[in-house]
């Protein structure tokens, strides 16, 4: 089937002054996980920039998406590079809290 994935999920990167922000919109689920990984790969590897994702327009995430965020967190952590989330919708924050991924997104001074 020709899936119109762009209607469903979109990731737009804005880079400036040592900082990259990826704006996600739509539904981040199993079907678009490979697309999301592809967008993030080159950004994750670049330890010189601060990396953030903006979730304001993200309507849906499940353990597939949370798993990808977790692997990015691990990769960035091992490189001593930052990775943060911005404008997290209530429903998604709830899932971040439930699973426990939330604490890894805390500002560095608060993390153990």
């Amino acid at each position: 089937m020709t899936t119109n994935k762009n209607d469903k999920f979109n990731a737009r990167t804005v880079s400036e002054e040592g900082r990259s922000i990826v704006y996600l919109s739509g539904e981040l689920d199993l079907s678009v996980a490979p697309d999301f990984r592809l967008v993030m790969e080159p950004l994750v590897g670049d330890s010189d920039v601060d990396l953030a994702i903006n979730l304001k327009e993200l309507k849906y995430i499940d353990s597939t998406g949370i798993g990808i965020l977790l692997s990015i967190l691990k990769a960035r952590h091992s490189m001593n590079a930052s990775f943060s989330v911005e404008e997290v919708p209530t429903q998604i924050q709830k899932l971040f809290d439930m699973t426990g991924i939330a604490k890894f997104f805390e500002p560095q001074e608060n993390s153990q």
Binding site: S31, D62, I66, L70, L73, S78, Q91, L95, G100
Partner: protein, 149 residues
């Protein structure tokens, strides 16, 4: 209370079709009067069950997922069934799969699916029988804002 009603959906066990299950869940649950938040919770839980059938049930040749929505005035019961390989849900896996007590370098990816289903639904039952595939039954009770007279 009206008699129970059932909507049954059969679809290919591929990632492409899981959003169709969410659409049906949305349509049926909003008709029943579930809140926005409850519907969002159920969307995730049902998708986790479907994702598992897509990822683990079948090999290369693929297969089908059946989703049954059981509707009555009290609760919504969603059954996600595949006819793929069976598995044993390990006790450890369902006990502590979250990240709450872990450091980032100790974290392993995966294992959150059943945890989320349990956290987001009122009841989760799993039956995985050799040669018969897996059946996950998810239940959410309808909490009314106003009591019916």
């Amino acid at each position: 209370m009206k008699a129970d009603q059932t909507v049954t959906l059969n679809l290919p066990a591929t990632a492409d079709y899981v959003d169709i299950v969410r659409l049906n869940l949305y349509g049926i649950a909003s008709k029943m009067g579930f809140s926005y938040e409850d519907i969002e919770d159920m969307k995730v839980a049902v998708s986790e069950a479907c994702n598992n059938s897509v990822l683990y049930a079948y090999g290369q040749e693929g297969g089908l997922v059946e989703v049954v929505f059981g509707v009555n005035g009290e609760e919504l019961t969603i059954t996600v069934k595949d006819e793929g390989v069976s598995f044993a849900l390990s006790q450890e896996a369902s006990d502590a799969p979250t990240l709450h007590n872990k450091e980032l370098h100790d974290v392993e990816i995966g294992g959150l699916g059943f945890y989320l289903m349990q956290a987001l639904m009122d009841d989760v039952r799993v039956a995985s029988e050799s040669g018969k595939g897996t059946q996950v039954v998810l239940t959410k009770r309808l909490t009314r804002s106003e009591e019916k007279v």
